[in-house]
Symmetry: C2
Subunit: 490 residues, 2 copies
């Protein structure tokens, strides 16, 4: 009954072996040590927002579903494992007939997420819940990284379109393809990557490279040929030789002498080098003076959110930005540090046994047990107030009064009222059965836009944004503190 | 006759549409403007070595070959293009029966490469040579980036093993898989990514995560279970609770009481947190005092070349490093800036028409025409002296005397003698037919090691390395200068 919203399927590739080898040695170890059916709970969370931003954006759930729907060990995989001479034959038989049986909960795509809170939660046989670690992490880390970065760039562009131009500098093919997906969700208007249009329906756009202009005898010839080929949608690249002396004058000539007689307007010009802030103003004036005030100016050339902000603050006349390598690699901070940690197991009677990983660094200590994440939204304007992590059985009632406190400074406390409390993790799998239908990509994009627009303006700043709190319930905080005390006094 | 050295084939995925949309609009434009058969030459080159290093490493050729061998437009691709209502029906017919007909030359994988020199050269019908731009760039940019970064890390480790641990933080699945490949070529000893072993034969390694230790009642229980399961190859993660107070003492206990009675030795311990420089010295002493001087110490935890250098300079006792996110994303500089530029077309009589792209920034001006890259090696010890780019017909004779000069300061001149001159670009395709057989991955890795070891030691420094010169022949320099003069006086 449930069908995918995207045509891109994982079944054409077998990525089962994209796992850390230790997931297999541990799995075999659990199997041989009678722990095959031990139920474990893992939390996927991250510790720091890239670029010092006010929030990150969650992305990649749909690909995780595709991975899990197609998860199987092929004969080739099994025969590889056999050759390693480390694995029990009965364990290999188990893999041969592997069936995914875990429960999975997740945030939905396009949701603002914050450090320390579970964004995906997996519960099931420890072998299985452990095995999927690498694929869950690489998927979420990559797409959330690019979505988070893209949204910064989109915010800097202040309503102007951002075109994703980065495929050629992406870190591999998937980085180009799924990076385009994440960028689109986070607000990019289009991608240069045609694959992303074929497979995801992301509008693919692009007109000409410098090589087009160079391959003709003159720049004017190249513009005329392009205009005649694409009179409906003609954007000309004007910086191959000299933007102001030849590029724009030739573009204007073509607008008047080729396009207008055919009943068309020049759609745009693109500047890809030089002092684009300065040039854009000159170009705007030249176009306006020629009666081409509807002709758009597109700028590209190693842009990022800071350059865009700087260019706009200089009064540049730009309608759209093409952003490449700095977006598609999140160059300024190219790692999204999601981790996947064991937080509980269950005993044979079904009781939760909370687990903790300690560290000398308080922020690296994991938060134990099976937990829920709640977001409290202001009742009137739906601004999120704070996130609260609770134990499973706790309920945060709407409207409160509910006391929240900073887990790093428990004397900082605040009573909140007049809010709606929403559980953020939604069921995706129940005992291995998919129970969630991904919205289509355009819906996800819309939802993401809505979510971001509900955030406090102070959280949207590129530098030193307002810090949003992720608090623990008193009961969870007590559990964590007591476990730490016990371990430290052992 | 020619077979691939790797089992990984592109034919399970259709990546034809991983192209910038402008490659298609230009292709259709060339087609409609009677330029379908115009022969063009494109150079792929890069402008700057990441991290201010002394050289980069070329990687990715094998995947380019796999891409080109499988390049075809599927019915789905064609019907997508049809829907866009931009393309001529005859052009779509041409794509339907597309057959790759270009000549391709390339450096071989594992070769040190330098800014400004062609590392791949493509000649053929302009539609085709232009169309493959994005896939060539994304492949070379990604793998060369990771190889270059990895080799820095390997050099910092000074002969100790570097294990690639980064899959979970890679920018997508291909970044994990092909990143592991590039890392192995550049000197990583193994990868945690099992896929890279199944498909490329890269030794996959890994033992346990903290979750293994946490999932047992006690750390000691978890070590005993692991040792009994893998007595042959037992490396224990000792930092889950307290490295010096419990982790190492428990590991020693297991070595003596579980492994030795079975006739095995404890292979290693891994430290993944804390002050690893300090801890490693303490751990070494504890192991030695327990008669475990053959037990190896593996360190991981956000390492890169600079941290490794610092750790070793503090006298850390480390046998191997596990390096993750900073390697697999080349985090310190996550973009390899390869570009693909038109440098010539041919007229109907087969004469080369050199093409140039000018810019206000001298270093961004392209070097025109069909060119060769020569590397001059010292005759005795095979150190490379300099690279020289010449026009096609020029020959650099062995031994010289040959005058080289700095193209940015033509008064800096030097006469070289007693060298072997080697043409660096080798034929890969002749009119669309593959004429090159990739060495297998282990040979490439060996070749890479040899190439790097022949470089001057001063080029291997991590900071401020000696700058290696890429010069132009006098004739090529004159051509470029004259073309610039002519364009600038127009």
């Amino acid at each position: 009954m449930i069908s995918f919203s995207s045509k891109d399927k994982f079944d054409s590739r077998n990525l089962t072996m994209l796992c850390d080898f230790y997931e297999l040695t541990m799995a075999n170890g659990y199997f041989k040590n009678g722990m095959k059916d031990t139920i474990a709970v893992f939390d996927l969370f991250f510790r720091r927002i890239p670029d010092g931003g006010g929030f990150a954006l969650f992305c990649g759930l749909e690909q995780i579903i595709q991975y899990l729907e197609n998860l199987k060990f092929s004969d080739e995989d099994i025969s590889y494992l056999k050759k390693r001479k480390l694995f029990d034959p009965q364990f290999l038989d188990y893999l041969r007939t592997f069936r995914f049986e875990c429960d999975v909960w997740s945030m939905t795509e396009g949701t603002p997420i914050f450090p320390g809170e579970p964004i995906v939660r997996v519960r099931g046989p420890i072998i299985q819940a452990q095995f999927i670690e690498t694929m869950l992490l690489v998927t979420i880390n990559h797409q959330s990284l690019i979505a988070t970065k893209t949204n910064r760039i989109v915010r800097a562009a202040k309503g102007r379109s951002v075109f994703e131009f980065g495929s050629r500098r992406a870190q591999g093919y998937d980085a180009a393809n799924y990076g385009a997906r994440a960028a689109y969700i986070a607000g990019a208007a289009s991608s240069a990557n045609t694959w992303s249009d074929v497979h995801f329906g992301i509008p693919a756009s692009g007109t000409m490279a410098h090589s087009w202009v160079q391959s003709f005898d003159t720049e004017l010839d190249s513009f005329i040929a392009y205009a005649k080929t694409y009179p409906n949608d003609c954007t000309l690249l004007v910086d191959t030789y000299n933007t102001l002396k030849t590029g724009v004058p030739n573009a204007i000539k073509v607008a008047h002498e080729v396009l207008e007689p055919m009943g068309h307007r020049l759609q745009g010009v693109r500047l890809d080098s030089g002092d684009v802030a300065y040039l854009s103003k000159k170009v705007r004036k030249m176009l306006d003076d020629a009666g081409l005030d509807d002709c758009k100016i597109v700028i590209s050339n190693s842009l990022d959110e800071f350059l865009i902000r700087s260019i706009l603050s200089q009064g540049a006349q730009v309608n759209a930005f093409g952003v490449g390598e700095n977006l598609i690699t999140a160059r300024s901070e190219a790692v999204f540090g999601g981790v996947y940690k064991l937080v509980a197991t269950y005993d044979l009677d079904g009781n939760v046994i909370p687990k903790i990983k300690i560290s000398d660094n308080f922020e690296k200590i994991t938060t134990p047990s099976f937990k829920e994440v709640w977001r409290l939204f202001e009742k009137d304007d739906h601004h999120p107030l704070a996130d609260v992590i609770t134990l499973e059985h706790e309920v945060i009632p709407d409207d409160g009064p509910y006391e929240i406190f900073d887990p790093l400074d428990t004397t900082k406390r605040k009573v909140v009222t007049h809010y709606i409390a929403k559980k953020m993790l939604v069921p995706i799998y129940e005992k291995g059965t998919l129970v969630y239908q991904s919205p289509n990509l355009h819906q996800i994009r819309k939802e993401c836009h809505k979510n971001v627009s509900e955030l406090w303006e102070e959280m949207l700043r590129l530098d030193n944004p307002h810090q949003y709190y992720v608090d623990l319930s008193q009961e969870l905080w007590d559990l964590k503190t007591n476990m730490l005390k016990e371990l430290r006094t052992k």
